[in-house]
Symmetry: C2
Subunit: 335 residues, 2 copies
C-alpha cells in the first residue's frame, strides 16, 4: 500500500486539505505546518498519485504522438523535438504507431477520445478512407496538431515543410546537373505531402520544357519491401531508364541507392539520385547524396509548442499553419 495524503494527515493529526495545500506550497498555510508536512512526506517517500489529481483537475499531463512508424530517421528526430518540449512542460509523451494502417489509426484515435491524454500530435497513416475518426476526436474536445503528414480538410493546426517548393527545387537541381529523364519515387498517391512534392516535380518539367513520362512516376507502396525493390529495379532496367531520380522520402531514396548498387549502375554517371533524407544517412554514402533535408526536430518542437499553447491558454489554434523550410544540401565528393 502506498502512502497517501490521508496517511500524512492522520499521522500529523491535521486535515487532509491542509496537507494538500502545504504540499502545493499554498500561501494560506503557515511555514511551520509546511515544514512538518514536508518532512513527513519526505520521510514516507510520499508520491502524489497523478491520476487522482488528474480526475479532479482534468489534466492528465500526457500527450499522444501518433505516427506511422519510428524506423525512419525523420520520425525519430520528430519525437526528439516533441519530447524536448514535453520534458520542459513536465508532460509525458505517449507514442502510438499506426504502421501506416488506417484501421490501426482508427482504433488508436478511438481510444484517445477517452481523455487519456490532453492533446494529440499526429502524422497520418497512408491509405484510403475519410477522416471521421479525427473529427470524432475533435468533437470530444481533444486538441490536435498535425505535422508533416497532414490532412488538409481537417480543421486543425498544421506544421509542414515547403513540400511543393522542395519538390520543385530537387527536380530543378537534377535538371541543371544534366539529367534529362527524371523519375519520381513515391510511396503513396493519397498523402498530401507526396502529392505536393510530385506537383513540384511536374512543375519543374513544365518550366524547363521537359516531357513527363508517367512510367517514371513509381509508387513504392507495397508492404513487402522486396516488391518495392523489384519495382524500382524494373524501372532502372528499362531501355530508356531514368538518369535522374527524385526520392520523395528517405525510404525510397535509400531504396534507389540500393537498387543502383544491385544493378552496378554508377552514381552519378549513370543515374543521379537526389532525395529526401536525413543528413546522417547522406554523409555515409559514397558518392555523396544530395539531399532535401527536413528540419524534423524543429517540426516536432514546433508542433508540440503549438499544442501546449492551446492547452495552456486555451487558444483556438485550429487554423494555425506553420511552414518550415527544407534545405537542399549538396556534399562535395570525397572520391
Amino acid at each position: 500500500m502506498n502512502v497517501t495524503i490521508k496517511k500524512i494527515a492522520d499521522e500529523l493529526q491535521i486535515a487532509v486539505s491542509t496537507v494538500s495545500k502545504a504540499l502545493r506550497d499554498s500561501y494560506e498555510i503557515s511555514a511551520e505546518t509546511k515544514q512538518k508536512v514536508l518532512e513527513c512526506a519526505k520521510r514516507h517517500d510520499y508520491t502524489p498519485n497523478p491520476y487522482a489529481s488528474s480526475l479532479k483537475r482534468r489534466i492528465t499531463a500526457n500527450i499522444a504522438v501518433v505516427l506511422p512508424e519510428v524506423a525512419d530517421s525523420f520520425f525519430s528526430a520528430a519525437i526528439n523535438g516533441i519530447e524536448s518540449v514535453a520534458y520542459e512542460k513536465k508532460y509525458h509523451v505517449v507514442v502510438y504507431l499506426t504502421h501506416d494502417r488506417k484501421d490501426r489509426e482508427h482504433s488508436i484515435l478511438h481510444d484517445l477520445r477517452s481523455g487519456r491524454v490532453d492533446g494529440v500530435l499526429m502524422s497520418v497513416a497512408d491509405g484510403p478512407g475519410g477522416s471521421e475518426h479525427i473529427n470524432d476526436l475533435a468533437n470530444k474536445g481533444v486538441p490536435l496538431v498535425f505535422f508533416d503528414r497532414i490532412i488538409e480538410d481537417v480543421r486543425a493546426a498544421k506544421v509542414v515543410t515547403d513540400d511543393y517548393d522542395s519538390g520543385f527545387k530537387a527536380t530543378e537541381h537534377l535538371i541543371k546537373k544534366g539529367s534529362t529523364r527524371l523519375s519520381f519515387l513515391s510511396i503513396s498517391k493519397s498523402l498530401t505531402i507526396l502529392d505536393l512534392r510530385l506537383r513540384g516535380f511536374l512543375k519543374a518539367h513544365e518550366v524547363y520544357g521537359l516531357p513527363v513520362n508517367k512510367e517514371m512516376i513509381v509508387h513504392c507502396d507495397d508492404n513487402d519491401e522486396a516488391n518495392n525493390f523489384e519495382r524500382v529495379k524494373k524501372l532502372l532496367e528499362l531501355k530508356d531508364r531514368p538518369n535522374g531520380i527524385v526520392g520523395s522520402v528517405e525510404k525510397v531514396t535509400t531504396l534507389a541507392y540500393s537498387v543502383c548498387r544491385d544493378l552496378k549502375l554508377k552514381i552519378p554517371e549513370d543515374v543521379r539520385i537526389l532525395g529526401f533524407a536525413h543528413l546522417q544517412i547522406a554523409a555515409l554514402l559514397d558518392p555523396p547524396l544530395t539531399t532535401v533535408t527536413q528540419p524534423a526536430f524543429e517540426m516536432g518542437k514546433a508542433a508540440a509548442t503549438i499544442l501546449f499553447k492551446t492547452l495552456e491558454k486555451k487558444i483556438d489554434s485550429r487554423s494555425e499553419r506553420l511552414v518550415l523550410q527544407s534545405e537542399l544540401i549538396e556534399r562535395a565528393s570525397t572520391r
Copy 2:
C-alpha cells in the same frame, strides 16, 4: 462536459452501478437492460474515463520506456517491438529520453515512482553514479525490466545479447581477414555491454596471440560529435594506424566510416571496419560493411513480454535473464 456513466443512469432512470455492470457485460444484468444501456452509451458516444477506473482498479494501462535516445536505429526498432506487444495487450507506451544524462534519468525515474505507469522498461544512461534511483522505483513496487544497457547489480529482469561473444567474434573475423593492428571504438567506460564487448575484443587478441595497444581503445564519449570525430581522426592519422576497427555501437561504426572518407582511406584495403549496426545502414554502404546486428525488435518484444508476465500473473521475474543472439553478417561486395 463529457458524458459519464451517471448521465446514462439518469437518462435511463436506473442506477449508476447497473450501468457500470451493463457496460462491463456483467452476468447479473438482464439482456434487455444491457441493450438499453449499450444503445444509450453509443448514442452519446460514451467513453469511459480510464483514469477514474484506474484509481479504482489500480491499473493505469501505461508502461514507460526509458531510453538514452531515439536517433539510433537500435532503439527505434526496440520501440517497435515494445509497441507491438503493448498494442496487443491494450497498453500504452510512454516514452522518456534521458539523452544519456544521469540527472535526467534520475528525475524521470523519480517521477515514475508515482504510479503513473504500471511498469518500466529501460536501457540505462551512460555516466557515473549509483543506482539508488532505480532501487527507489523498485521499492515502490514498480516492476522493471532492463534491456540491452543493463545494470548488473540491480535485481531486475534483464534482456541482453551475447555481448562478450559478439565482441570476440567481430575481432576474430577481422583477424582472420588479415587485420593485425586492431582498434576498438567505444562510447563509454562504464556501460556493461561495452565492457563485455571490449573484453571479447581483448580475449580474441589473447587467443590469436596479438598484442594489445591501449592507444587503440578509443572512447568517443564526448557530447560534441565534432570532438569524437577528431578523436577517431587522430587515431587514423597515427603512423601505425589500425588496419582493423571494431565499432562497438552503430554511432561509432558509422563515425569510423565517415572519418575514413574524410581521410580518403580505402576500405577495406587500408582499414577494415566491422561494427555493431543495423542492416539497413550496412546495405547502403559501399564497400559493404560487415556488421554485428542485434535483434533489436525481438529484444524490445521480449522485454515487454516479460514485463507483462510480471504485471498479469504477478510473477516475480526479478532474477530472469534472457540472452538473445547477435548475428555477424557479411555482405558480398558489389564493386
